[in-house]
């Protein structure tokens, strides 16, 4: 390739791209998910938290009014956050800002898109708005992440237009057992599909309740066609290392950071442990003197299993 400086070769021509098609494409939406790999996405409830998260190396923040542990404690209906709060958080950091909409609540998602959030989480942590249907995510230019507990659920969400899947875990518990269960479940089923003979794929699609084209794609790729992140119960650097070693490509940490004794130090430690998940000596080093972890509650003792929300 010649390396001389270029001049404008088409000074009189209108640009040949059409902005309406060139923005919000699947490649751009999935691309942002891919850029977040190896990172930590942190729940924040105000600008101060957001700044702490960014300084600690978060790749993105999730703007919400209450962390899942408080939603669990307070009860009541959990809805999309106040737009003023989301804007305050957007103004305070330079990294991507995500926000949650209720399952099926496409109007909340439209509001979040109007606010120009970078990613929408159609989340079981909020109270579902539709008992049968999720949001049709294809018309949106903003990318969506959805939770899943198994491969069928993950592929249904991808079929609806999600460009990132997070294993659900059990948010607000600080107990990693459900995150491990869901991650293992998704990966086990991917392994089964990718080693299955081609003639079994239609039946897998039927059993999983998933689009056959996506089951076929999983068989060819040996992985989901979008990034698989992990959420719901991660509270320590070793938790992050655990789920990354199991096969997660990045982690969401909700209550685990800002419900702990020293959020800034713990946040940075989880960022380092996620990047160097396969280096136990480093995980040991960053795990020292982090102060009190989130107290947490055993996932088997919670009254409301958030992971059961979503269809």
């Amino acid at each position: 390739m010649a390396s001389s400086e270029i001049t404008n070769t088409h000074p009189d021509k209108e640009p040949s791209y059409t902005p309406s098609r060139a923005q919000g494409s699947i490649r751009l939406k999935r691309g942002l998910a891919e850029m977040l790999r190896g990172g930590v996405i942190m729940d924040v409830v105000n600008a101060e938290h957001a700044k702490i998260a960014e300084a600690a190396g978060a790749v993105a923040v999730m703007a919400l009014e209450r962390v899942p542990a408080d939603i669990r404690r307070d009860g009541g209906v959990a809805r999309m956050s106040d737009p003023a709060l989301i804007e305050e958080i957007q103004a305070s950091v330079t990294i991507p800002v995500m926000a949650k909409a209720r399952i099926g609540h496409f109007a909340e998602a439209q509001v979040l898109e109007a606010l120009e959030v970078d990613f929408i989480d159609e989340s079981e942590v909020l109270t579902p708005a539709d008992e049968a249907f999720h949001i049709d995510k294809w018309p949106f230019k903003v990318p969506f992440v959805c939770g899943a507990t198994n491969l069928g659920e993950a592929l249904r969400r991808i079929g609806e237009g999600a460009v990132m899947i997070r294993s659900k875990g059990e948010a607000g518990t600080g107990d990693v057992i459900e995150a491990v269960r869901h991650l293992r479940s998704i990966l086990r089923e991917i392994h089964a599909v990718s080693s299955a003979p081609i003639e079994e794929i239609a039946n897998y699609a039927k059993v999983l309740g998933a689009p056959v084209e996506l089951v076929q794609e999983v068989r060819e790729l040996g992985k989901l066609p979008v990034p698989l992140f992990c959420a719901g119960g991660i509270a320590t650097p070793a938790d992050a290392s655990l789920v990354m070693q199991l096969g997660a490509e990045a982690v969401f940490v909700g209550s685990g950071i800002f419900k702990s004794g020293d959020p800034a130090t713990r946040a940075r430690a989880i960022v380092e442990a996620t990047a160097h998940f396969d280096d136990p000596a480093l995980v040991a080093k960053v795990s020292k003197n982090l102060g009190e972890p989130m107290v947490g509650i055993s996932a088997s003792e919670v009254e409301t299993k958030l992971a059961n929300r979503g269809w």
Partner: protein, 204 residues
């Protein structure tokens, strides 16, 4: 049709694997026919002929490079004229001046350019638009710009190798053995930019 798997001898390209779209770069290198390896700690730099800093979050990369003691060792490699290529956040990591960065954000400060983080805006402003790769080509390189930085000023030593037709701004730039893209060639099947980087390694 491009030739499949030209022979590149024993060239090994490292991809900084602390955060970002590492596997997309390794896939592109594999399609070009070049071996690659992840670079996470200083000792990983020993056996590589060139280094790619991928897309990701530049603030996160800056922190992880610093905490891992990688600024000095990679800086020495660049000073020793090892070819290096940064895409998006990777370009920010190489640039002398970062506009709209965090105050504590660091870079290798080797590329004589000034870049503005999120130069086109938020994710809703991310776009696809063709890139003209040199003075004679039509704009036919598929440009994928995701929360991309914008190059706002260039030093005398910096060559512009590609401009995006959206606003004619420079998006592929080179300064000696340093290559930078504000876009993501690793997210496309067009291998010309990775092939250019490999040719820079072969020149060494």
């Amino acid at each position: 049709m491009r030739e499949k798997h030209r022979f590149f001898g024993n060239i090994v390209v490292g991809v900084l694997a602390l955060q970002g779209d590492v596997i997309e770069h390794r896939r592109a290198l594999d399609l070009v026919g070049v071996k690659s390896k992840e670079v996470k700690v200083p000792s990983d730099l020993e056996s590589i002929d060139g280094l790619i800093i991928p897309g990701g979050e530049s603030t996160t990369l800056s922190l992880l490079v610093e905490l891992g003691g990688m600024f000095d060792v990679i800086g020495e490699k660049i000073a020793g004229r090892m070819p290096i290529f940064g895409t998006c956040a990777g370009l920010i990591m190489l640039s002398k001046e970062i506009i709209d960065g965090r105050r504590d954000q660091k870079s290798f400060e080797v590329f004589e350019v000034s870049v503005k983080r999120n130069g086109y805006g938020r994710q809703l402003d991310s776009f696809e638009a063709p890139i003209a790769l040199d003075g004679t080509s039509p704009p036919n390189y598929p440009g994928v710009f995701i929360r991309a930085p914008a190059v706002v000023s260039l030093g005398d030593k910096v060559e512009v190798l590609g401009k995006v037709i959206k606003d004619e701004s420079p998006v592929l730039i080179r300064q000696g053995r340093i290559l930078g893209a504000t876009f993501h060639p690793e997210l496309t099947d067009d291998l010309r930019v990775h092939e250019l980087f490999i040719s820079m390694i072969e020149e060494v």
